[in-house]
């Protein structure tokens, strides 16, 4: 366990303690106790920059399940560090923002911060683990914490719906990824990412390559909300806005991007990878920006915009894989796509984070996010307005903000793809720049809509729940920090290029580097009159035109029938799965215990009888059997007589007493066989269970006379005889077959020496086989709680109804 491991799990540890703070110290907002952690983590991770910028890595391993090759291996390289910085940095800002966003006397802050810390730890785990299984564990934890955060206001129907949807989709992808991990393990025999990367040539030639790629991409695409799995992200906007800013724009949804980047060294040389990642990315980019324009809720606009921007980064990563088919890095025109991907990843976190916070402020101060009710807030909230302008212009790709730079590089990357004469890219590849350009036009339109519909136009105070005014200072700090970063990265992009972008690229495209080499990234503001510049100018001109004429062509969105939208398909799919499984269950679960007993015993006979038959296990061996004594005959006769009498008993009381008689006779058997412990136990158990039966008997309905003549049922008779026969056969065979030497001599020898006890039975129970006992009492406890819960719950429901 090193400091690095501690840093990764520290949010999880704090999550354990934080409820105590939130309960006992109510005067202080719980967020203040959480805030120091991400700040400390951020500065801790910053200290690694000097290592990674010289292509160094930090590797710490901690054995977890070494026999399966599963170790908690933490590795810091360029890519992991970039994400760790995003997670802790944005995390700190979001926590600060949330302190002002969530009122301390109205909200369950304890829960909120526990979920948030859970997420932070899980996310750090995802990006810093070098072991795929460990990463998978953290990956699912991000899904779960995201589920909890979306459903934070669980009394709202929509929150629950959104939480369930995100959970179903992302966990589905996560499981697919687990399949991919196992496939990779089959191919390479390792769970370690570094080792798998070293064996990438084996993976690329293997027949399982395509299934593995598909599995991993399913994981990445569901998490990063790529088309057609993007439908969960807009619904996830039901979460509190700080959560949306953190999880659903800056970090969690980028886990998919991270996965694609991380697995690029393994898979990227395959043409399937390039086409799938690039293709899905560009389609998502287009569809997201296209759908964002029609939204009326501010957060929905941002949600679809996030979908589209994630698609943009994804497509860049896909296209960047082309660089692998081109030797050398000095004049490699395709690496620019990867550079753009990393750069845009940072930029998106800054501008989208600040935009979400701006929207949160608007929501908080006006009480609505509906764009149709808002307008003219510019004079009331000047700071917020400025921040919105910065964020939205950066998103639209306007100078001098950082979005402009990465958008230009994005165009460069997309245009360059045409130069590649591989995988039929020179023909079909034309789709990439075309879709990219159209999507950018839509991006421009919704960015403008976001700002100008909210802050300019006519002020409509009658539609608002609150009287709007500028947000408190504390709430503005975080978006102001992010907004200034947007400008700083825009004007001086090269402070990032050597410290963060180049090391991250080295992790994505390691095979292009010879040892000691680094990617020489330099971002220019002015490239001269290149095609990308004209593309940007075209975007701006057409964007302004279309924005101004928006009311005229907006109707085009209603052309697609409601029934065919992905959301409807998801809803109906979910419904039919539910009703289908309900029908299937109802088919055999009819609510009668006797039916279930028939199933259980029928399977019992079938399976055990089959095994006995196929394994040829039925043997009767009487060599080691002692002679049968007088007492044994008497006792067995007693048991048989009592049992048969039960069948003909006319009242329940008689049956219970007869059953008790059977039990006590068995206890006598133990006495005859000189097993005092068993005899005692059996006696007491029998006593208690007779008492229990009497109690139950008191509650059962009257024993009806009509029922006393139970019609003879062939199946039941067959099953009961069958169970008896099988159990007898197994008992006889078990006694006659000795596969191993008896272990009893070990106990005889060691009971006193090793355990200082004289009663062998008890020493076995508490010492030699203490684990068994431990689990048995756990089972007992669970069973008793189950009975308690079933009966008590039924009672309360009865009262309600």
């Amino acid at each position: 366990m090193s400091l690095l491991h501690l840093a990764i799990v520290s949010p999880l540890l704090l999550a354990v303690i934080i409820p105590i703070f939130s309960k006992s110290i109510r005067q202080i907002h719980t967020g203040w106790f959480v805030l120091p952690l991400p700040v400390v983590l951020f500065s801790y991770f910053l200290s690694f920059i000097s290592t990674t910028s010289h292509q160094g890595t930090v590797y710490e391993s901690f054995e977890w399940i070494p026999s399966l090759g599963i170790n908690f291996a933490a590795k810091i390289d360029g890519l992991g560090l970039l994400f760790a910085l995003l997670i802790s940095g944005i995390g700190a800002l979001v926590v600060l923002y949330s302190i002002y966003y969530l009122a301390k006397d109205k909200e369950q802050l304890g829960n909120f911060y526990v979920y948030l810390l859970l997420f932070m730890g899980a996310m750090l785990g995802v990006v810093l683990s070098d072991n795929l299984i460990v990463m998978y564990g953290f990956w699912e934890l991000t899904s779960i914490s995201s589920f909890l955060l979306i459903g934070y206001w669980y009394h709202r129907e929509k929150s629950r719906y959104g939480a369930q949807k995100s959970m179903l989709i992302t966990v589905f992808g996560g499981l697919a990824m687990l399949g991919g991990i196992i496939l990779l393990y089959i191919m390479t025999g390792s769970f370690s990412i570094s080792e798998i990367v070293a064996q990438s040539d084996i993976v690329l030639e293997h027949t399982l390559l395509i299934p593995a790629i598909l599995c991993f991409l399913l994981g990445a695409f569901t998490k990063s909300a790529q088309f057609p799995f993007h439908i969960w992200l807009p619904d996830a906007m039901e979460a509190p806005t700080p959560v949306s800013a953190y999880l659903h724009s800056a970090t969690m949804v980028k886990a998919g991007i991270y996965l694609v980047a991380r697995m690029s060294p393994v898979f990227a040389e395959s043409p399937v990878w390039l086409w799938l990642v690039g293709g899905f990315g560009i389609v998502t980019l287009f569809w997201g920006s296209f759908s964002a324009v029609k939204q009326t809720d501010l957060k929905s606009i941002l949600a679809f915009s996030t979908v589209s921007q994630l698609g943009l980064i994804m497509s860049l990563l896909g296209v960047g894989a082309a660089a692998l088919h081109y030797d050398g890095i000095d004049d490699n025109v395709f690496t620019v796509a990867t550079t753009a991907a990393v750069f845009h990843l940072i930029n998106h976190a800054t501008f989208k984070g600040s935009l979400f916070m701006v929207v949160g402020i608007v929501d908080h101060e006006t009480g609505t996010r509906d764009i149709r009710k808002l307008g003219g807030l510019m004079h009331l909230m000047p700071v917020t307005f400025t921040l919105a302008i910065i964020g939205a212009f950066s998103m639209a790709g306007l100078p001098p903000f950082n979005g402009f730079l990465s958008k230009e590089m994005f165009f460069t990357g997309m245009v360059n793809i045409l130069k590649l004469d591989l995988f039929s890219l020179s023909t079909w590849g034309l789709l990439f720049p075309v879709l990219a350009w159209i999507a950018s036009v839509f991006t421009f339109i919704y960015s403008m809509k976001l700002v100008f519909r909210t802050f300019t136009g006519k002020y409509k105070p009658e539609g608002l729940k609150k009287k709007p005014h500028e947000a408190p200072l504390g709430m503005l700090i975080s978006p102001v920090v992010l907004g200034s970063l947007v400008i700083i990265f825009g004007l001086f992009p090269n402070i990032l290029s050597h410290n963060l972008i180049s090391p991250a690229m080295a992790s994505i495209l390691p095979s292009l580097l010879s040892p000691g080499d680094i990617f020489d990234v330099h971002i220019y503001f002015w490239h001269g009159p290149t095609p990308e510049l004209f593309m940007t100018i075209g975007v701006v001109i057409l964007g302004i035109l279309l924005y101004l004429t928006l009311p005229k062509w907006e109707k085009a969105y209603h052309l697609l029938p409601e029934k065919l939208t992905l959301n409807k398909i998801y809803d109906r799919g979910l419904e039919s799965i539910q009703s289908g499984s309900f029908k299937l269950t109802r088919f055999y679960m009819n609510g009668y215990i006797r039916t279930y007993l028939v199933y259980i015993f029928a399977f019992f006979i079938l399976i055990l009888g089959y095994t006995l038959y196929t394994k040829d296990a039925f043997v009767i061996d009487t060599t080691n059997v002692s002679s049968i004594g007088f007492y044994e005959i008497v006792l067995s006769l007693l048991i048989v007589v009592a049992t048969i009498t039960i069948l003909f008993a006319k009242s329940r009381l008689t049956s219970i007493i007869l059953l008790g008689a059977v039990g006590y006779t068995v206890a006598l058997f133990f006495v005859v066989f000189r097993a005092p412990d068993l005899a005692l136990t059996q006696l007491v158990i029998e006593t208690v269970s007779v008492a229990l039966f009497l109690l139950c008997f008191y509650h059962l309905p009257k024993f009806k006379k009509e029922e006393s003549k139970i019609p003879f049922k062939l199946t039941n008779a067959l099953i009961s005889i069958g169970v008896g026969a099988i159990v007898t056969a197994i008992a006889l065979s078990a006694n006659s077959t000795k596969l191993f030497d008896s272990i009893s001599q070990f106990y005889v020898d060691n009971t006193y020496i090793r355990a200082a006890g004289k009663n062998m039975v008890n020493v076995i129970l508490v010492d030699f086989r203490g684990f068994d006992t431990l689990f048995e009492i756990c089972v007992l406890a669970i069973a008793s709680l189950g009975i308690f819960a079933m009966i008590k719950l039924r009672l309360t429901r009865g009262k309600e109804g």
Binding site: P676, D677, L680, G757, K758, V766, I777, A781, A783, S784
Partner: protein, 140 residues
């Protein structure tokens, strides 16, 4: 409904303590003679069931205001705690230790961590049995 259980009640008052003492004896004897946490617990539970049969639920609940679910939990805690305690001494989970100690009055006694484990079993068995019987008995 109960009219004629005077004899049962009188006998119970006497016998109850004998059974309880016997169950405690069984519990402690367990390591050397027949007995142990499981049987001891069952015997105690049996005594309590007798009490329930002789008197009614409410009376017993007044005499012994015990929450048996919590008793189960405490028992589990004992057993798991004993097991986990061995981890502190860097030996595998559930490794027991014993030693002879000279105690006042009792003289030379063998002390054994297995007893702690067995206390857990004892409590769980009582807790489980009584939870089940109480729940079903209270259900109306």
């Amino acid at each position: 409904m109960r009219t004629n259980d005077l004899i049962l009640q009188t006998v119970t008052k006497v016998i109850l303590f004998i059974i309880l003492l016997f169950s405690i004896h069984l519990f402690f004897a367990g390591h050397y003679y027949p007995g142990g946490g499981f049987i001891g617990g069952l015997m105690t539970a049996g005594a309590l069931v007798l009490l329930l049969l002789a008197f009614d639920m409410k009376t017993v609940a007044n005499i012994l205001p015990v929450n048996y679910r919590i008793m189960t939990a405490i028992g589990l805690l004992f057993s798991i705690g004993t097991g986990a305690g061995s981890l502190l001494f860097n030996v595998p989970f559930l490794t027991h230790a014993f030693n002879d100690v000279y105690l006042p009055i009792l003289g030379k006694t063998s002390l054994h961590t297995a007893v702690l484990f067995d206390i857990g079993v004892y409590l769980v068995v009582i807790g489980v049995t009584m939870t089940i019987i109480q729940t079903i008995g209270e259900d109306e």
